[in-house]
């Protein structure tokens, strides 16, 4: 008992008091700052990018494909690509994830998530998700689990991962969706009661990531169903997830 109290005292308060203001320190790679005017058109960035996330004219990075490895920023002789630590990069629009440097972080954030009244009305106070790992490598899965730990503690906002799709308000998918997992993903979706949302977390789920184009995938699910929220990252950072979900819920 004494030991327990000692440990408790030693730990103090661990929860991040305000997750909406929390910052991640460098060299964390969040929203890239792209400056096409500096670009010398040497194509070094495009050559090292493992996922083809960079387009040249105009210079832009697709956060849905980007695995945030930073190889492009290191290779660029003109420093026309750098990564900022800004982590609130979730968006309700797939196209919005293509960034060309026209917006700064604040501007990016203000237009990233379209707040829908019905979402706020239905899920604003309590939002339960069934997570389905469809060939996720366990990176995003660890980070999603971390969202509920004493540091990030998303449970305090009424957000929780539940065991059954029947108890869920939506499906949150990680991984590039393997052929072998596609039927189970569809089942989990069908078992979730309406109205429901679909959220993609991580580059693999959004674009296939480093596995895009593999013959072992089956991504038809994404053509059939509307996607409500995209959370980029490789893996997704818990602060990106929690802030993305909060904004999405209209809070």
């Amino acid at each position: 008992m004494i030991n327990t109290l000692k440990i408790r005292k030693n730990q103090g308060e661990q929860a991040i008091p305000d997750v909406t203001r929390a910052e991640i320190r460098p060299p964390f790679r969040g929203l890239p700052a792209v400056d096409g005017s500096k670009c010398g058109r040497c194509d070094a960035c495009r050559e090292v990018c493992p996922v083809g996330a960079i387009s040249a004219r105009p210079l832009a990075i697709d956060l849905g494909k980007c695995v945030f490895c930073g190889d492009c920023a290191r290779e660029c002789p003109e420093k026309s690509i750098t990564f900022s630590t800004f982590h609130k990069i979730a968006s309700t629009s797939r196209d919005y994830l293509v960034v060309d440097g026209a917006k700064n972080a604040e501007e990016y954030l203000s237009g990233a998530i379209e707040a829908r009244q019905e979402i706020k009305r239905l899920f604003g106070a309590s939002f339960k998700l069934r997570q389905v790992s469809a060939a996720g490598c366990n990176g995003c899965e660890w980070e999603l689990n971390a969202c509920g730990n004493p540091n990030f503690d998303m449970g305090r906002f009424g957000i929780e991962f539940v065991a059954s799709p029947r108890h869920a308000d939506g499906i949150l998918i990680t991984g590039p969706i393997s052929e072998n997992m596609a039927p189970a993903l569809e089942d989990a979706y069908m078992c979730t009661p309406d109205p429901k949302v679909v959220i993609l977390a991580g580059s693999c789920a959004i674009s296939g990531g480093v596995f895009q184009g593999s013959a072992a995938l089956n991504r038809e699910f994404l053509d059939k169903h509307h996607i409500d929220l995209y959370i980029p990252g490789c893996p997704v950072h818990p602060l990106t997830v929690v802030n993305g979900l909060l904004k999405f819920m209209g809070r």
């Binding site: 945030f68 069934r130 730990n149 991962f161």
Partner: protein
């Protein structure tokens, strides 16, 4: 000469690898395994219409690897090795699934991962031949692929009588992404990124194995500093996951203080790794030829300061947890795998060491900086959940000590990333690392033009999944989560 001997990360020319008939190879393997060698890789490579079969055996005491090959004729069948060298069981299953060549007399020839490029598409996940049990009060419990928590998918079928599990069968394959095939197709563009994603919880372990393989083929010795930084990251990864898993084990016995404290302590470790690499999992650090991030004096200071706290917190929490009667009563004698069974199944890593199997690549086949700073192997004997948990606790402390040793003597040679040469033609290299789950093996084979034509990956999970199934026998079904967490195996690592 029946075998060519080499070492971890020392390439051999394909022409120098002895070739014999499949029957001879089998007899050789069985004989050498009786002498105490063990299998680390066994795979086929198409050779025109036939197949060349490569076997890699390890002699752990002599730090040597032995390679030989067999020519498979049109008969496409041979007598199974498994009945005489049981460690081969999963390797032969995998070989059979990949190539369609039948090891006759294999006791348990079922699918391993149902890969998209498997030999026989008639065999599907839906038609998996589960064992069944008949009798009074016998029932089966099916779980998955989607589990209750936020974890990877797999299917578990418990064959029970009442609460007791007679047998657990684990069917995997849901996570198959075709990594080995992609490695061959895309290694020059995204090899390291793919390696980092083989198992996202073992980023450094697999990336190091891949990078070591490419550097060895290219005949480049990277700087000592880069080697040391990789090793520090590898031990950070080990400590972080072990701490997280102790928290999960605490959670599964309803000891919530343990869950909370180990959870936040893990956060401290991975956030420290972020301060160096920009990623909580160390992504982007290991690159072919070295590492992409360097330790500044500030980093050294910060690592020491944070790890001192981690060390203290883990010890305080660990000592409290491992002397609490209500925790121990759940861990002791639960999910026991004895030494004999663990050896026969071929368990590796902390799960094996908890059953007395003294294997650790860092000591047996040292790579990188471990050649100069070998790690002392530790084992336990009871082979139960307690041993697998306490083994983690021991290893966390060992890892932190190792990191301190490296931080105090960081070599200052250059460069951080060495340029690589063109890969040689017709060569094979075996690259092994000790990830936190155990032995990782990557085999790369180059063709005539010096391009990689075959890339074989073995995650420690491949062998250890069977250990989990075995551990459940005779245990209550409610102890499954606990047994599962004590192993914490990778679905992706198995399914590739």
């Amino acid at each position: 000469m029946k075998w060519i001997y080499t070492k971890n990360n020392r390439p051999v020319r394909l022409a120098d690898i002895p070739e014999m008939t499949m029957d001879e190879l089998r007899a050789q393997i069985v004989g050498r395994c009786r002498e105490g060698r063990r299998v680390v890789a066994f795979f086929g490579m198409p050779n025109g219409r036939t197949e060349t079969v490569y076997a890699v055996l390890a002699d752990d005491e002599a730090n040597r690897l032995y390679i030989s090959s067999g020519a498979m004729g049109r008969e496409r069948r041979y007598q199974a090795i498994t009945p005489e060298a049981p460690r081969f069981h999963i390797f032969e299953r995998e070989f059979y699934e990949d190539t369609g060549i039948t090891p006759e007399g294999h006791p348990w020839l079922k699918g391993v991962r149902y890969g998209h490029d498997r030999a026989d598409h008639e065999k599907t996940m839906e038609s998996y031949p589960f064992f069944t049990m008949k009798g009074e009060e016998v029932h089966e419990v099916a779980v998955g692929p989607v589990h209750a928590g936020v974890i990877e998918p797999g299917h578990f079928r418990f064959m029970c009588q009442g609460e007791d599990v007679h047998h657990l069968e684990i069917q995997l394959g849901y996570q198959h992404r075709g990594v080995e095939r992609l490695m061959v197709e895309r290694y020059d563009r995204s090899g390291i990124h793919l390696a980092e994603s083989i198992a996202g919880d073992t980023v450094i372990g697999h990336a190091t194995a891949y990078a070591d393989a490419i550097e060895a083929l290219s005949n480049v010795e990277i700087s000592r500093r880069a080697q040391a930084i990789r090793a520090i990251a590898l031990e950070m990864e080990r400590a972080a996951i072990h701490i997280g898993d102790l928290g999960a084990i605490a959670n599964d016995v309803a000891y919530l203080l343990g869950n909370a404290v180990f959870g936040v302590t893990r956060t401290l470790v991975i956030n420290t790794l972020l301060s160096l690499t920009g990623s909580r999992f160390g992504r982007g650090l290991v690159r072919e030829g070295g590492v992409a991030f360097d330790f500044k004096p500030d980093h050294v200071r910060e690592f020491k300061e944070k790890l001192t706290k981690v060390s203290r917190d883990v010890e305080l929490m660990g000592e409290a947890m491992f002397e609490m009667a209500s925790v121990l009563s759940r861990l002791d004698h639960t999910g026991t795998v004895d030494f004999e069974a663990a050896t026969k199944m071929g368990l590796v890593g902390p799960a094996g060491r908890a059953s007395g199997v003294s294997l650790d690549v860092r000591a047996d086949h040292p790579f990188g900086i471990y050649r100069f700073y070998p790690v002392h192997k530790r084992t336990m004997l009871s082979g139960d959940v307690f041993a697998r948990s306490y083994m983690r606790y021991i290893e966390i402390k060992q890892s932190i000590e190792f990191i301190f040793e490296q931080l105090d003597g960081l070599p200052d040679d250059k460069p951080l990333i060495s340029p690589l040469h063109k890969l040689p033609s017709d060569s094979l290299v075996v690259s092994m690392t000790e990830g936190w789950r155990g032995e990782i093996v990557h085999c790369a084979v180059t063709g005539k033009k010096g391009k990689i034509v075959r890339y074989k990956i073995k995650d420690p999970s491949l062998q250890n999944w069977y250990g989990l199934a075995y551990a459940l026998r005779g245990n209550g079904i409610s102890d499954f989560p606990l047994c599962n967490k004590s192993f914490n195996l990778s679905y992706c690592g198995n399914d590739l």
